[in-house]
Point group: C2
Chain length 111, copies 2
């Protein structure tokens, strides 16, 4: 979250789901609640620092719910709120687009 006074809906959405990881985390939680470790395995390449950082942000956004189970060993589950689910749904076409054009995208020269 960076600014206020969005000029359009996409502007606001990008602000919420922006960055390298939030969309992927949201995606991973689509099917079921996951524990921290499970989530880490579900989002390949993410560091613990980024995962917890993004989760905290998404918690304050109201996208994600954090449930602590007081056990030994500790157990913390993350799940999507209704708000999170609605955003996830809005991301489906984008995911489909990416899947469809993945070959093309991978073939783009990088620099």
């Amino acid at each position: 979250m960076k600014k206020q006074g969005y000029t359009c809906g996409l502007d606001a959405a990008v602000d919420v789901v922006g960055g390298k990881w939030k969309a992927l985390i949201l995606w991973a939680l689509h099917y079921a609640p996951l524990r921290f470790g499970e989530l880490k395995r579900s989002v390949p390449g993410i560091s613990e620092k980024m995962l917890i950082q993004q989760l905290r942000e998404m918690e304050t956004y109201g996208l994600v719910h954090r449930e602590v189970h007081h056990q030994v060993p500790p157990k913390v589950e993350y799940s999507l709120t209704e708000f999170g689910h609605s955003l996830n749904t809005a991301l489906i076409p984008l995911g489909d687009w990416g899947e469809k054009h993945m070959r093309t995208i991978e073939a783009i020269p990088r620099g």
Copy 2:
């Protein structure tokens, strides 16, 4: 563009449309081709440097077409390719989501 070997479609899509500006630029070109100056005015807050930088990238991605009209004064028009249009279409639900929840998003405490 950062990596190869995407784990899912959303991963690839985020890689293409990621960053602060690309989605907004794409959005601005949705209706009609725009000149550099028009585009700058259509994406409030963007600097000339970022605009040209993002446009160049999107050109190499094949999302945007750059047409130079040799005139005095110079005239350069940017338009979406079919590929760009398809991505734009995939972004519509996200834009709708953002519009719908804009009040909520603006009300989120920022850090």
